[in-house]
């Protein structure tokens, strides 16, 4: 899937930038919005409507999925079973990941071997993490595929009905906005109801503006991260494949609060682990535009650099 214009933004709480982005894209007509990541607060749209100063059509993705589950208990049960399998796979992955990351951190901290040997050791330690990430992603993809083939959600009447209604609503809108919130719920429900397929199949240039978890959902893979959680080691982990229209980047909303950006060893390992994708710091005010296949970032939008510093996005895009 491709979209002609995609804009990714940082959190919108204190520095809202969606209106600027829509104006820059020439959007003057109604916009559609997905706020499924807000869950039960999905319809609390007043601040957003005041901000964008345009008619807003809520796609009600969270609520529609609830309705679908209520009308199709077999689908709901299959979703739950898939969810349990993904969680079990995530636990297996997490246990191995902790060891792999410890090994890489130890290698990066050592200085008691000739530089050539150390460099090779570090490369292999990081490759081990990358292989594990890739293995996990493949296993989750298999679980997804089993679910898709076994249940065929798009063909089920309750799903098809709401897919059609979402498509109708999208057809009257010039752009699609995707808000943050719970990234797992956002990805799952957008996929179930085919929101992106419907949007991209409509004629004309219809940009997408997404922020925080919305930006994460659009990447090729969803990476969860927090360097100092109240429990656990704070090891960033791959969750699952994203919706894939924002390739080549790993969006990191709230990186200033969630990542130890001054810890160069930690930043360097993060950058190396997900290379060649650019790990982009999406703090409040950040903006990243995808136009004709190339990323363009504002000067204050930074990425994690392999040397552990924060650098401009353009250098690696």
């Amino acid at each position: 899937m491709t979209a002609s214009s995609v804009v990714l933004l940082g959190p919108q709480g204190t520095v809202p930038r969606v209106r600027d982005a829509l104006r820059d894209l020439g959007v003057r007509e109604p916009v559609a919005i997905v706020t499924a990541g807000w869950e039960e607060r999905e319809r609390e749209l007043l601040p957003f409507m005041k901000h964008v100063e345009l008619p807003v059509r809520n796609l009600d993705v969270f609520r529609r999925a609830e309705v679908v589950y209520g009308r199709d208990p077999d689908l709901h049960a299959a979703m739950r079973k898939r969810h349990d399998r993904v969680r079990a796979q995530q636990r297996l992955y997490r246990a191995r990941l902790a060891h792999a990351l410890d090994a890489a951190r130890e290698s990066l901290a050592r200085s008691d071997a000739p530089p050539g040997l150390l460099a090779a050791d570090r490369r292999d330690a990081i490759d081990a993490i990358r292989r594990l990430d890739a293995f996990h992603l493949a296993r989750v993809d298999e679980i997804e595929l089993e679910f898709e083939l076994g249940v065929r959600p798009a063909e089920r009447p309750a799903v098809a009905l709401h897919r059609a209604r979402i498509r109708e609503r999208l057809a009257g809108c010039r752009a699609l906005c995707i808000a943050g919130g719970h990234v797992g719920i956002l990805v799952n429900r957008m996929r179930l109801l085919g929101v992106l397929d419907a949007h991209l199949s409509l004629p004309g240039d219809r940009p997408i503006v997404a922020w925080s978890a919305g930006a994460m959902a659009l990447a090729s893979r969803v990476v969860l991260f927090h360097d100092h959680p109240p429990q656990g080691a704070g090891n960033a982990e791959v969750f699952r494949a994203g919706l894939g229209i924002a390739p080549g980047i790993v969006p990191l909303p709230h990186a200033d609060r969630r990542l130890a950006l001054a810890d160069r060893a930690r930043v360097a390992l993060f950058a190396a682990r997900f290379a060649p994708d650019a790990c982009v710091v999406l703090n409040a005010g950040a903006r990243l535009d995808l136009r004709a296949g190339d990323w363009h970032a504002t000067p204050d939008t930074l990425r994690l650099a392999p040397d552990g510093s924060l650098g401009p996005v353009q250098e690696v895009a």
Binding site: T14, V183, A213, L224, H226, P229, P230, Q231, E237
Partner: protein, 383 residues
């Protein structure tokens, strides 16, 4: 004595007596007091008195430690070594003409409040007051409301404050935490601020909290069987009628400190399977192996309960989080109970801090305790 105070003493010895008051004035104007240099802390008091002493609640140290007067001045000092991460509450006892007055440290603006008033606070260089316990303008605030209910267990009407998170919705079911001494947790341990902050950050789910209080806590919290009846037969059904709550032990917890922790543990023991999570802070879990205890008659039912619990712990909860200060006499009892609790719950965590039996110690442990017992969607939520 800290190096700075030693230097002051040396300089005082080198000047005429008439110049000493001015030297002390200058020293005090330039220094934070108590003077903390590494592990060394020097407390200061200035004025005329017969005796001056440091009063503290660190178990194992004599409770009253005398100050000495710097020669030919009205400045008194007392030096103490404090561990790097330690936090200590204290007062200064000043005796004049046979009368002793306990005072806050006039040089130290840091106070910790509790139901009995306030104490001065000093801490080691590595201690940090947690940022998550301070109001955060970005955190949406929960609402407090009060309900009254007829208690069959106690035969009277009880008031309970309820904290409803900003994201409380009737359309969603919420987990529930019942807090003993709830209003005190709010007043002295910043509980509602902490809930607002941790829920906003996704470290906790949108949690409903019932803030209970007792008109006679030394009786009702001392393993009184009526208390378990009040929580399980009066309060829980009322909360489930009025609020949208998850109806499962896995989504219910009890929190209490000191005698409140006894109340929480005894309730879980008397009514197994009702509460999945316990947070027990500085529990007054006194017990005896031989003979009688010496803590006074109000402890009799506590000791009887803990002894009974030790004989037959049963299964009390899924998770138990225990915290205690190493400066408390109760640390021995809390440590001793851990192996037993491990047989009575699926998971037990125990956290000690270099602190005393006080509200700010309990406040400082809440992030770890709450986020372990009620983990939020932190890893998944990026607003």
């Amino acid at each position: 004595m800290t190096p700075a105070v030693l230097e002051l003493q040396r300089r005082l010895g080198a000047v005429e007596p008439a110049a000493r008051a001015a030297l002390v004035d200058t020293f005090l104007a330039r220094r934070e007091v108590p003077v903390v240099e590494g592990r060394h802390v020097t407390f200061l008091w200035r004025g005329e008195a017969d005796d001056v002493a440091l009063v503290h609640w660190i178990y194992g140290l004599e409770q009253s430690r005398p100050f000495r007067r710097l020669p030919d001045t009205d400045l008194w000092f007392h030096a103490l070594d404090l561990p790097e991460h330690a936090r200590m509450e204290y007062k200064i006892a000043v005796t004049r003409s046979g009368r002793t007055d306990w005072q806050h440290d006039a040089f130290n603006p840091r106070l910790a409040r509790d139901p009995f008033g306030a104490n001065s606070v000093v801490h080691g260089p590595a201690y940090r007051e947690p940022a998550w316990a301070r109001p955060d303008a970005d955190a949406r605030r929960g609402q407090l409301r009060t309900i009254e209910l007829q208690s069959t267990a106690f035969g009277d009407v009880r008031r309970v404050d309820l904290y409803l998170p900003a994201r409380y919705r009737r359309t969603r079911r919420h987990p529930l935490l019942i807090v003993h001494d709830g209003p005190d947790y709010v007043r002295y341990a910043a509980l509602t601020t902490i809930l607002d902050n941790l829920i906003e950050r996704g470290e906790l789910p949108p949690l409903v909290v019932a803030l209970t209080a007792s008109p006679d806590r030394l009786v009702e919290y001392a393993a009184d069987p009526r208390h378990a009846g009040f929580l399980c037969d009066d309060l829980l059904p009322a909360l489930h009628r009025q609020l949208s709550l998850v109806d499962s032990p896995s989504a219910r917890g009890l929190l209490g400190a000191s005698f409140g922790a006894v109340a929480a543990l005894s309730t879980a023991w008397r009514r197994p399977g009702v509460f999945g999570h316990l947070i027990l802070q500085s529990g007054s879990f006194a017990f005896t192996d031989i003979g009688r205890h010496e803590r006074g008659p109000i402890w009799d039912p506590v000791v009887d309960f803990v002894n009974a619990f030790r004989r037959a712990p049963g299964r009390i909860a899924e998770q138990v989080f225990v915290t205690c200060g190493t400066f408390e006499s109760l640390v021995y009892y809390n440590r001793s109970l851990i192996p037993l609790l491990q047989t009575a719950a699926d998971e037990v965590r125990y956290e000690e801090a270099q602190d005393g039996h006080n509200w700010e110690n309990w406040r400082d442990r809440l992030r770890t305790a709450l986020s372990w017992t009620f983990p939020g969607p932190l890893w998944f939520v990026y607003e």
